[in-house]
Structure formats: structure tokens, C-alpha cells
């Protein structure tokens, strides 16, 4: 006789198992995507080189006698993060387009929500890695001594990245099915990045200028509200994208 593990009868036990399964699937999809990326590193290396190039070019895109590098630094940081992150976003679903891999993924027991979360985590790790390398270079190039306020900056980066990847993952799942997906993603995504990027830039210049935390809370709450609403919307709407 086959021994079967009887699931706990309590409601909480069933929920716990379902949640466990959900996160396990999402985690597995994220790990698969990152493993595929790690084997070639094409997108990661290109995004990193691109980020460094943007940082360097924007340094010269100002009148050095009139505008100090410090003044343009917050804008430069977020333009760099946005453009470099966008390069990697299409990758997650382009991978699945080959050989109809997405159909295979759909045939598994993975729910659309778990697939979305997995793809989103994969994208977040990708963007996080690009940020991890470009942030020290930014501090070095633009000579902004912010080591003591780094935790706040990292918090803003995490919040803006969540906004970026939740809408970005959803939109990239749509645009990879269209013609000209490479052009289409920035056109559709950038309007959605206005609130998170403006908030992030506002908080970043206050961090650089060593302003009190109270001046940042308004922008941080706007960013937080954006994160919550667009994460929920994206994960719910993804089902409409993926179901045929």
C-alpha cells in the first residue's frame, strides 16, 4: 500500500500548503530564468556595460562650469537604472517564446499568479544586480559621499525597483507577442514610470543634500502606494495576458 501524507484538516494547514506550493513554483521559475541568464550572461553584461556608458556620457552632458555633477547626480542615477533595467525586461518572456516554451509552462500546474511572481522575482534580481554594480560606480564617478545614508537610498531603490518590475514584467509579457517588441516596451512602460522615478529622484536629491527624513516621507508614501496598487493590479491582470 502506498503511504500517503494526509494533509492537515485545519483550514490553516491547507492554506499553508497552498502558499508553500505557490511560492515554490514562483521560486523555481525565477531560479530557472536566472540560471539560463547566468549561463550566457549576455543580457546582464550588456545591461551593465550600458549602465556604465550612460553614467559616463551623462557626466559630459552638461556645462561643467555652470552645473556641478552633484546637481545632476539624482537624475542621472535614475535615468541609468531605468534604461539599463529596461534592456533586461524583455528577456524574461523572449526566452519563453522560443519553441513555444510558454505553452509548456502553462500546461504545468503553475498558476498564472505564480508564473508572474516567478518572472517578476527573476527580473527584480536582474535589475538588482545591475544596480549593485552601477551604484558604487555612480558614487565614484559623481563624487557623492553618501555612505552614511546608504540604507535610505537602498530602500528607495528597492521600492522603485518593485514598481519598475511589477509593471515592466506585465507589459513585457504583452509586447513580446507583438511586432517591434523592443521599441514597444519603452513606449508603453515609461509613462508608468513617471510617478516612481519622479518620487525616487526627489528622495535621492534630499538624501544627497542631507535633508531630514521628514521631507522624504510624502514621496516615499506615494512610491509605497504605487508599489502596492500596481503590484496587485499586475499580478491580477497577468491572467488575462497569459490565458488564450
Amino acid at each position: 500500500m502506498v503511504a500517503m501524507r494526509v494533509p492537515s484538516c485545519s483550514g490553516f494547514g491547507i492554506w499553508w500548503q497552498m502558499a508553500n506550493g505557490f511560492f515554490a513554483v514562483a521560486g523555481a521559475i525565477a531560479i530557472k530564468d536566472l540560471a539560463v541568464e547566468w549561463r550566457t550572461k549576455t543580457a546582464l553584461v550588456s545591461s551593465l556595460v550600458f549602465a556604465i556608458l550612460v553614467l559616463a556620457i551623462l557626466y559630459f552632458a552638461r556645462d561643467a562650469t555652470a552645473v556641478s555633477a552633484f546637481e545632476v547626480a539624482p537624475g542621472v542615477l535614475w535615468v541609468t537604472f531605468t534604461f539599463a533595467g529596461m534592456l533586461g525586461l524583455n528577456r524574461a518572456f523572449l526566452l519563453e517564446r522560443e519553441n513555444h516554451a510558454l505553452d509548456g509552462l502553462r500546461l504545468t500546474s503553475a498558476t498564472p499568479h505564480a508564473i508572474f511572481l516567478g518572472k517578476m522575482i527573476g527580473n527584480a534580481v536582474f535589475v538588482g544586480l545591475v544596480q549593485l554594480v552601477s551604484l558604487p560606480l555612480f558614487i565614484l564617478f559623481y563624487n557623492v559621499p553618501i555612505w552614511n545614508r546608504l540604507p535610505v537610498l537602498v530602500l528607495v531603490m528597492a521600492m522603485a525597483t518593485l514598481a519598475f518590475v511589477s509593471v515592466g514584467t506585465l507589459l513585457s509579457a504583452m509586447v513580446v507577442r507583438t511586432r517591434f517588441s523592443e521599441v514597444m516596451l519603452p513606449v508603453l512602460l515609461l509613462p508608468f514610470l513617471v510617478p516612481p522615478i519622479v518620487s525616487a529622484v526627489q528622495v535621492t536629491w534630499r538624501i544627497l543634500a542631507d535633508r531630514p527624513m521628514a521631507e522624504m516621507t510624502g514621496w516615499l508614501s506615494l512610491l509605497g502606494a504605487f508599489d502596492v496598487i500596481f503590484f496587485i493590479l499586475s499580478i491580477m491582470l497577468f491572467e488575462a495576458i497569459i490565458t488564450e
Partner: protein, 234 residues
């Protein structure tokens, strides 16, 4: 009545409404220029308000309609909702071009600049670009069902984005005149001016309805034609 005939009827009714609205528009011009007092501080330049403000409000209304119909499409999956949402977006884009042209014409003599990064200007610009993106996305998708689903998702996201963009740019800084119509309390405008503004509002909304009906009929007819072509092939 089949789909083609009912679409043609809608188109005919839409064109009648459009003609009426255009006649009304001419009336609004005459009233605004000849029978409405000149504003004390801004002079004749203020008259553009009678065109600009109703168009701006109708643009927002059109985009709002697209967002709500997108949401309904995702729930009900009715093709007509998709046609209507897309038509409203297209009319909205046309109206927002009129809004973005009339605004600077007023801005130059009053603010001394054609463009400024004020809250309302910036948010409507982003909204305009977002809905141009919506139309571009529709063009890039050939399969009807996929096009309807994807654009509905974008429409719902856009609906959620509007308050955020507005908050963001409002906090950034604002210069635009305060609302005279849509605000708590009584409108801050003399009666004669208010009548002109409200009649212009009614005319522009009628124009929107006329355009919307014609555009909707056109997309239904396109749909019917595609189905017929598919039948001929099979």
C-alpha cells in the same frame, strides 16, 4: 438587422450628431467672441478658455471611458466593449491634440511661454502619450482576441495611473489656473461667461459622442469585413 446594417445606422446617426455639434461649435464661437464680456485681467486671450477647457475635460472623460470599458471587457468579454473602448481612446487622442494646441496659444500671452512643466500640462501630456501607446499596441497586434485582451489590460492600468501621475506632477509644482467649474462651491465666473463655457461643454461632449459613434461603427464594419474575408478563404 445584421451587424453591418446596424453599424451603418450608427454611423449615419453619428454623422448627424457630428454635424449638429459642429454647427453648435460655430454658435459657441460667435457667442464667445461677440456676446461674452472680455475678461478684465487677461483680455481677449481668455476667450480660448471656451474651447480649451471643454476639450480638456472631454479628453479626460474619453480616456476615463476607455479605462472603464476596458475593465468591463475583461469581465464580460463582449467584443462591442472593446470596439467602443478603442474608439473612445482614438477620439480622446484627437481631442487631446486640440487641447495641447489651444493651451500654448493661450499660454504664450498670459504666462509668457508656450510650454511650462505645470501639473496639469505635464499630466495631460503623459496621458496623451500613454493613449498613443495604447493605439500603437493595438496596431501591432493582429489577432482580434489578443488585441482586445491586451489593450484592455493597458486601459485598466492607465486608469489606475492617472491619479498617481497627477499627484506626482502636482507635488512637483503647479502654475495652471485654478479650476473655475469643477471645484467645491459656486463657479468663480460671471454668468454670461459661464453660459458660454457650459454651452461649449455641451457642444464638445456632443461632438465626442458623434465622433465616437462613427468610429465605433467603422471598427465594427472592419470586424465584419475581416470575418467575411476569413470565411471566403476557408
Amino acid at each position: 438587422m445584421n451587424r453591418r446594417e446596424s453599424a451603418l445606422t450608427t454611423a449615419r446617426r453619428g454623422s448627424i450628431i457630428t454635424v449638429l455639434a459642429l454647427a453648435g461649435f460655430a454658435g459657441v464661437y460667435v457667442r464667445a467672441l461677440m456676446f461674452t464680456p472680455i475678461e478684465r485681467f487677461q483680455g481677449p486671450a481668455q476667450k480660448i478658455l471656451y474651447v480649451h477647457a471643454p476639450i480638456a475635460l472631454t479628453t479626460l472623460f474619453a480616456f476615463g471611458v476607455t479605462g472603464l470599458l476596458s475593465l468591463l471587457y475583461l469581465i464580460l468579454k463582449d467584443r462591442r466593449l472593446d470596439h467602443l473602448a478603442a474608439s473612445s481612446a482614438e477620439v480622446g487622442v484627437v481631442l487631446s491634440i486640440a487641447m495641447l494646441i489651444t493651451g500654448p496659444i493661450w499660454g504664450k500671452p498670459i504666462w509668457g511661454t508656450w510650454w511650462t512643466w505645470d501639473a496639469r500640462l505635464t499630466s495631460t501630456l503623459f496621458l496623451f502619450l500613454l493613449f498613443v501607446g495604447y493605439l500603437v499596441l493595438r496596431d501591432a497586434l493582429t489577432d482580434f482576441e489578443m488585441r482586445a485582451r491586451f489593450s484592455a489590460v493597458l486601459g485598466v492600468l492607465a486608469l489606475a495611473l492617472v491619479p498617481f501621475i497627477h499627484m506626482t506632477v502636482y507635488w512637483f509644482r503647479t502654475l495652471h489656473p485654478e479650476p473655475v467649474l469643477l471645484k467645491p462651491g459656486t463657479p468663480s465666473m460671471p454668468g454670461a461667461m459661464l453660459v458660454t463655457l457650459l454651452s461649449s461643454m455641451a457642444v464638445v461632449i456632443t461632438l465626442y459622442v458623434g465622433f465616437l459613434m462613427q468610429r465605433y461603427a467603422l471598427s465594427v464594419l472592419e470586424d465584419v469585413r475581416e470575418e467575411e474575408a476569413a470565411l471566403e478563404l476557408s
